[in-house]
Amino acid sequence: MDPATLKFSKSHEWLHLDGEIATVGITDFAVEALTDLVFVDLPEVGRTLDAGEIFGEVESVKAVSDLYAPVAGEVTEVNTGLPDDLDALGEDPFGRGWMIRVAVTDASAADALLDETAYREHCQSAGH
């Protein structure tokens, strides 16, 4: 997926909206900051999430980080192959590394998220 078409949260999740369905993952910046991923925990299909709610966790040798839902909705699909293919997060975070698909409650909520330029600026300032 082309990052230019995505929306981003300040907590480093990305979101791709296709109609009412959002695909969610974490960014290359997040993966690079974590390094040495050992574990990812994703929710069950059918779980409803509020915007900002923790939907899972990703763990590296150094630390564990929560994953936050960028928008509200119901989980319709989970990348069940991801826990056994953590390299996907490093190699293709915006594609093979996707985590969940969500039927969003309000698609316009995605407008409040950052576009790629604003997100990269956020990473720059967070890095220093």
Binding site: T35, D36, V38, F39, D41, E57, E59, V61, K62, V64
Partner: protein
């Protein structure tokens, strides 16, 4: 509020080579350059370089240097031959561990290497306990740098910077020898469970020694991140995790560093009592199911009862499994005992296993 962090002579090199710098015990140190797992693997398979100049280096000289050290540490300093290094503990009167240290005997003086996090505390402890001893103690932490070369390739690497016959040095031996023509102290020691050396060189030549060692094709700069995973696989305790002022040497499983027949050391009676006390907790290794990491403070359960606490945990890059060290009640300390670890609210099955998790081929 940000306090000013101390910097080792290698600081600019780290910053220029992608080192991710973090606050470690008041020092700005690299946690990794590339990946912790890559750096870890380099030490197990070839050779890694570590900046360990944050560790405290205290020199003891004068007629009572040995006697004072024997008073301060649990091991038998008088029994050290010139060129020997020994692991020891500094204890309080009540047997609680103030620090774990290495004592080096050279021909004219002794060196005490202490943890960075405890250096100021130990310097003050020495000042408070050196009355009546004819000894000079000098803190060389800032004017001497220290680096470690660890891994199966370390002999070849170190032989490239010194004329001293490092291949002939047995483990836990030290020597004074030139490194790139500079006065230096070399020891065959380390904190990784791998063969290796630690070099002490004047601060002003530290970077040139480091860069010369890095010229070797299989040498990799390594951060404190893999130093932790390496020492954990080797089951070496880390002060602040396995060791603190409320833990005695026997509970910590470090009785080998206590010599009761040695001169009276501070805390001797309390340490003796701890040795003979029934029911004290044991330091054990845990192997966990799955890949989640049991981190410091995670509770260990046997059925419904809390029976211990994790002190360090990681995902072992060598064994590719989640491992941890924990203090547990003696009833569950036997090898093979099944327990559970509470990882952020979820119970994960674990088994008590033999320490160390990793031992290099002799």
């Amino acid at each position: 509020m940000t306090e000013t962090l101390l910097r080792t002579p290698f600081h600019a090199w780290h910053a220029d080579h992608g080192g991710r710098l973090v606050d470690f015990a008041g020092w700005e140190m690299p946690v990794q350059y590339t990946s912790i797992i890559e750096e870890h693997t380099a030490v197990r398979c070839s050779a890694g370089l570590f900046d360990i100049a944050h560790m405290g280096r205290l020199m003891f000289s004068g007629p009572d240097a040995c006697r004072l050290l024997d008073r301060l540490v649990t091991n038998d300093v008088a029994a050290l031959e010139v060129g020997q290094v020994r692991y020891a503990l500094v204890c309080r009167d009540d047997g609680g561990i103030l620090d774990d240290v290495l004592v080096y005997r050279f021909a004219d003086d002794y060196l005490l290497v202490v943890n960075a996090s405890n250096r100021v505390k130990i310097v003050e402890w020495i000042e408070d306990h050196c009355q009546g001893f004819d000894v000079e103690v000098v803190d060389r932490t800032h004017d001497w740098a220290m680096l470690a070369v660890q891994g199966p390739g370390s002999v070849e690497l170190v032989a490239g910077v010194t004329d001293h016959d490092v291949a002939a040095m047995p483990y836990y031996r030290c020597a004074i020898g030139p490194v790139l023509g500079n006065p230096a102290r070399i020891s065959r020691t380390g904190y990784t469970g791998e063969d290796g050396f630690e070099l002490i060189v004047p601060a002003e030549v530290a970077v040139s020694v480091w860069e010369r060692l890095m010229e070797a094709e299989d040498a990799m700069a390594c951060g404190l991140g893999c130093r932790d995973t390496l020492r954990l696989e080797a089951a070496m305790p880390l002060y602040g995790h396995e060791l603190d002022e409320h833990t005695d040497p026997y509970t910590a499983g470090l009785g080998f560093a206590v010599k009761m027949e040695a001169d009276e050391f501070i805390g001797r009676e309390a340490v003796l009592a701890a040795r003979d006390r029934d029911g004290r907790r044991r330091r054990v290794g845990l192997r966990l199911e799955g890949r989640r990491i049991a981190r410091e403070g995670a509770s260990v359960f046997s059925d419904a009862s809390a029976v211990g606490e994790v002190t360090s945990g990681t995902f072992s890059p060598t064994l590719e499994m989640a491992i941890a060290m924990a203090y547990v009640e003696p009833a569950v300390a036997e090898l093979g005992t099944a327990v559970e670890v509470d990882i952020r609210g979820k119970r994960v099955p674990a088994e008590v296993v033999k320490l160390p998790f990793y031992r290099r081929d002799a």
